[in-house]
Structures are given as structure tokens and as C-alpha cells.
Symmetry: C2
Subunit: 135 residues, 2 copies
Amino acid sequence: MFQLSKKIEYALIALRHMAMGHAGQIFTAKEIADKYHIPYDLLAKVMQKLAKKGYITSYQGLHGGYTLTRNPSELKVSAIINAIEEKQTVAIIQCEAESPENCIIHSTCTIKNPLVRLQTTINKMFDELTITEMV
Amino acid sequence: MFQLSKKIEYALIALRHMAMGHAGQIFTAKEIADKYHIPYDLLAKVMQKLAKKGYITSYQGLHGGYTLTRNPSELKVSAIINAIEEKQTVAIIQCEAESPENCIIHSTCTIKNPLVRLQTTINKMFDELTITEMV
DNA sequence: TAAAATACGACCATATAAGTCCTAATTTTA
DNA sequence: TAAAATTAGGACTTATATGGTCGTATTTTA
Ligand code: SF4
Ligand code: SF4
């Protein structure tokens, strides 16, 4: 528990790689998968999601690939995480990640508040960390 | 991902509950399970682990139960987490949680360092948070 | 038209998490 | 001494999440 998923790590690795190239440079999923020994299919999916969310721009066809659409300094890790995982994923307690009613002890739970406070700080950290800090 | 497990939440709830009683007061697993609508068997296991690690003291037999062995202010959340989960669990990247060789891209990975730095801060937060802050 | 790329859904295998069940062992008390 | 209430702990089951794979379109260029 408490780990970033492989998908997120792959996304970060890919984005960092792209951030090191020159502006507008096209990268293919295959090229990145090979370089970092990442399973191609999985990376492809991850990049498709990043494209769908607008963080990278995709070009189909021969000589296609992806370019960064934004400046790396605008690529917050928090945003990338949320782009790839569906539910609010940086939520150390479950009632913050999904609907509170899912936890049967929600009404009697007494540990929520201190943990939520802690989470706020963590959120801020992921918010302030951008791809720029990774190159 | 990135959530505390139910076991840990149950441990925190139980310890907080115990911290609210008077020093040396005995609590049973059943009593706490009932009060917070936690599955008894699961909570029992959790408390057994806490007892084994010395955070609470167990008394068997009729009118048995558990008492807090330490002052709540000495009960770090980080320690409780590690008591219950086996491997280094507050490790946002996998190579920090287990042996780095398990990650086939470890040698080529380029995102480790910034994340490790972030993790250091998170560790500190869990280290500074004690049960006292929860009562 | 062939090649190389993205797009995307379906699927599978494995691991983890969560919960349950069963049977001791211990202690107290009626 | 027997029954009751408790901890102790292993085995098991189920549910869910993760990581990965496969198959097939679609798009674009040479
Ligand atoms: S209500 Fe309490 S136990 Fe339930 S998910 Fe939230 S923090 Fe965890
Ligand atoms: S080496 Fe990189 S990809 Fe592998 S676990 Fe560590 S951070 Fe994640």
C-alpha cells in the first residue's frame, strides 16, 4: 500500500523524457518503452490517457507520436496522477477517495480529521512537484 | 492506491479509543468492534499484532483484554503502520518498499530522486503524528 | 498498398486486501 | 470442576486492484 502505481511511474518517466527534448519534439510510445524497459502496451495506454486529458498531443500515422502540449513546469504531478487513475487517488483514507457512505463506520469514526489534515499537506506537495523538478 | 489499509485504520481507531480511557483501563476487542462497527475477527488480529509489538498489553481469560502500555503521545502513527503491515509500507515508490532489483527499470529510472525526497517529508509527517493528536 | 504509428476494448493472471471460520489456550467465577 | 469470556493464531475464502497482454481498428505517410 501507499505506493504510486506502475502506470503513474511510467507516465512520469515518459513525461520527464519528453521534457528533456526540444519543444515540439515528437516521441513514440515504442521508443520510450524500449529506452526504459517498460511494457509497451501498458505505456501506450498510459500515453493515450495523457493525450485524452490534454497533457500531450497525439499524432497518428507513420512518423506519428506524441508531443508535450504544455511547458513541463505546468505539469503538476498531482494532475498527472488524477489523469491516469480514475478516483481521487491521493487520499490516504477511503472516505476521502470515494463516497463516505461506503465506510460503514463513517459516522462513528474518530480518526478522520487528523488524517485529513495530513492529507492536505500531502496534496500540496504533489501539487507543487512538477516535471521540471525531475529533469 | 495511496490509502491506509483498513487494518491500520482499525488500529488507529482502537488505540485512540483506548487513549481516551483512564490509564491502565482494560478494553476488549469485542467492545471496541461493537462500538465502531468493525468486524470483530479482523480487529482482534490487529490488536494481537499491536500486543505482539508491545504497544498494548494483553490479558487473557475472563475479564481479560488489552491496556495501553505507553503514553499515547509516544504512539507514533508511523510505528503503528509498520507494526501492522509487514514491508516498509509508507514508500511511495516500489524500489523503496522492497528490493530495488525487483524493478526491472531501476537502473534506467529517472524519477526516483525527486520522489524519494517527497517521501522523506511524508515519513516525517507520519512520525510526528501521534495518537494524542487524535483524541 | 504497405508500414508504422495511435486508439481502444476485452481479457487474463497475479497479488493484495478484507473478511470469515475454527480450534486452542488462558483465566475467572459460579 | 465446569462454564463462560476472553486472547492467540492458523487456514481459508472472497473481493478488488494491479499489471500486463491481445486483437483489431484507424490514421497517416511514403
Ligand atoms: S470514516 Fe474513518 S475508517 Fe472510514 S474510511 Fe474514513 S477514516 Fe477510514
Ligand atoms: S526504479 Fe523508478 S520505476 Fe522502479 S520502482 Fe523505483 S521509482 Fe518506480
